[in-house]
Point group: C2
Chain length 216, copies 2
């Protein structure tokens, strides 16, 4: 049974870094501290950098990192996460490199003109869709073939799916820092605990992992 999943990063005060894809530092100064514990996991090093030396943390942070990569059959992301705002030219293949770390169909939400799909090395195919999020989710669910659909971000896209009640599993990784600025992670989600069971765990790094799981 396909589940719709979202993973987000937050500071203690509920902010995630506000990306600026047109900048030299597109994720901003706060992204590093916000994601430090994730970047230090063995799974991240292996999946993103191809580091098979076995280095990296192997505790609760790594367990959540593994879960992030496991069992995803299709991905949905906003135009900004693909990089369309910075590079609107047709045929641009995104800022995820020659072999993007998805390995599955990726549905990019865009309100701009239709564009052709782009197939990349490693099994990633970018599809561009301008329909309602429910329609795109239906298509992604079929494409996932029984695996899960991950809504990858950014934060506004994630919130759109969360507010529409389309998400089964939300994992928020809360770094023990106070940012005081950025995009609000939780905005518009008052009462989510009524429809989803909440569980919190603290990892060895002091990171709080909060998971919301849709109640039966």
């Amino acid at each position: 049974m396909t589940r719709v999943r979202i993973d987000l990063f937050s500071s203690l005060d509920g902010f995630t870094a506000a990306p600026d894809p047109t900048s030299d530092n597109p994720m901003g100064d706060d992204w590093g501290p916000l994601t430090a514990a994730y970047a230090e996991t063995r799974t991240f090093r292996e999946k993103v950098f191809g580091d098979t030396s076995g280095a990296g943390t192997t505790g609760l942070d790594d367990a959540h990192a593994r879960a992030f990569f496991d069992g995803v059959g299709a991905e949905i992301m906003g135009a900004a996460m693909f990089g369309l705002h910075a590079h609107p030219e047709d045929g641009w293949a995104g800022w995820w490199g020659d072999e993007p770390p998805f390995g599955c169909p990726v549905y990019v939400l865009t309100s701009s003109a239709p564009r052709a799909e782009i197939s990349m090395a490693g099994g990633t195919t970018f599809h561009f869709r301008s329909g309602a999020i429910e329609e795109v989710l239906d298509e992604a669910t079929v494409a996932a073939g029984g695996l899960d659909v991950r809504v990858g971000g950014g934060i506004r896209t994630a919130q759109e799916f969360l507010r529409a009640g389309l998400v089964d599993d939300l994992h928020v990784q809360v770094a023990p820092i106070i940012l005081g600025r950025g995009n609000s992670v939780w905005e518009g989600l008052r009462g989510l605990e009524h429809t989803h069971a909440v569980k919190s765990e603290v990892s060895e790094s002091g990171t709080i992992h909060v998971t919301f799981t849709r109640k039966a």
Copy 2:
């Protein structure tokens, strides 16, 4: 050695209830869910309701509740927490009842005209001060006689002391709920983790206890 302590309640999204002391429900609808785990502790039942039956939770929530009441020699609070905004008349003794749950000198910050101190049953004496917070803290520290000074609230008073770097220990009890409204708990505190060590723990009730302790 006197330490300056603050305890706050927060939702996952960083809000505390916005009180309205002129209302029939001065703490607002959100205060109950925000403080539910605290109200269920054995210590709260005993200290606030005089319930000595031994009922109430005895886990991590209760350990923090005990720590809240232990070793406080003087208290500082804002005018709104005393109730001055709703009852500006001279001689009004606050909304904390005939025997307030402090049992020590309480310094009420107010910019209004000087007023006489008020002695209550149970060892609480309310003093009204309009000086700088550093001066009031100095006086409270002397009055505490080696015990701790607790800055009781409200949230704006707490933030004033936190931003001025006057607080040694901050305990934030985070309820696993999303409020989406209220007063921001963390506002103006960016980077507090640089001066204070952060520790997070999850209790049996799913409450996250985040403590900041001033680094040596």
